[in-house]
Symmetry: C2
Subunit: 168 residues, 2 copies
DNA sequence: TTATACTTTCAAAATTTTTTGAAACATATT
DNA sequence: AATATGTTTCAAAAAATTTTGAAAGTATAA
């Protein structure tokens, strides 16, 4: 397989994965492209390689920057801005976990807390049928959340070697 | 807060979370509704409570059954089918992890393996810039995958107590 | 066998999400 | 100050996804 073909396949696969997980396909494709580029790329480079418009590049690169996955790079003597992705994959992984937790999971934890304050008679089967799963979700969510929080602060080798040792 | 209001809020929040994570909003809403219902519900019940069409209910319930999160319940004497959600939240969590791994993560692992066979000179910076992140992703993915596989087979208390002890 | 009760399918419609591209904006150069 | 180079915005268009609803399908009862 040619390098270019392999890059294309990877960009494609990353894009598909992104969209299946609720992240804009183009955003993850740009991320993939920058991830495997030896040099930082300009908006024009990205436009050309992915065959997308300037506005699309601009918006999605901004989102990637907001997510902390991509950085502007200024080349001395050049007026253009260039973009480079964070190459430390463990950092990338932690950053994605951190952001999704903050943006999407935390609001749900808030709502769970909120609705678990519902008034009702503990003997009412309707009430019990509601409160039980809510409490169970809260319990698992808070445990999972602690694990994720640890993960977002941990060193890769420590985290996995600890984990894999324990779970064996 | 009234029970009905709390249910609605929960259904709403679960639907939003689902769509943010790439799962059909209605599918997760139906799941939420069944999760907090004391009794199994018929297609008509779901149509009424969520104000959606019969076709929509049918398709999304089928998907939930495919995911292993919902089951048909036949009430003696009734011609209608009723539906009930798996109420053991740990099982639900494991099932979702298992299915997404199988449907969405596994194909990507295949592609990573595929593209990592790319030919190239190990001294070529372009080649190195490609192969390094791919290998790093493979390494983290395979470690994460082992953890997830363990999770899908584990008992809740064992899994989290082990985990939280270790990560402290 | 025919009628009734319910479920499934799927093309078309509605909705949501993404993308475009041109105008406005910003900054550097002549 | 005028021009050139590059970036950002956002309303409109395009594309993708979801939903509808009526017709076809299936099974039970009369």
């Amino acid at each position: 397989m040619e390098l270019q073909e392999a890059k294309d396949k990877f960009v494609q696969a990353w894009g598909t994965l992104g969209s299946q997980w609720g992240i804009n396909r183009t955003m993850t494709q740009i991320h993939a492209l920058l991830l495997v580029s030896a040099e930082p790329l300009s908006a024009d480079d990205i436009m050309e390689q992915l065959q997308i418009s300037r506005g699309n590049v601009n918006m999605n690169v901004r989102d990637l920057i907001d997510w902390g996955l991509v950085f502007k790079v200024l080349k001395p003597g050049e007026r253009k801005e260039f973009f480079s992705a964070e190459k430390d994959i463990w950092k990338v992984f932690k950053q994605v976990v951190k952001e999704r937790r903050r943006r999407e999971l935390e609001p749900v934890f808030g709502i769970l807390e909120d609705v678990s304050k519902v008034e009702g008679n503990p003997d009412n089967p309707e009430y019990k049928a509601f409160i039980k799963p809510i409490q169970d979700i809260q319990k698992i969510a808070s445990r999972a959340d602690s694990t994720l929080e640890t993960l977002t602060k941990a060193d890769e080798n420590w985290f996995f070697s600890t984990l894999l040792k324990l779970l064996k």
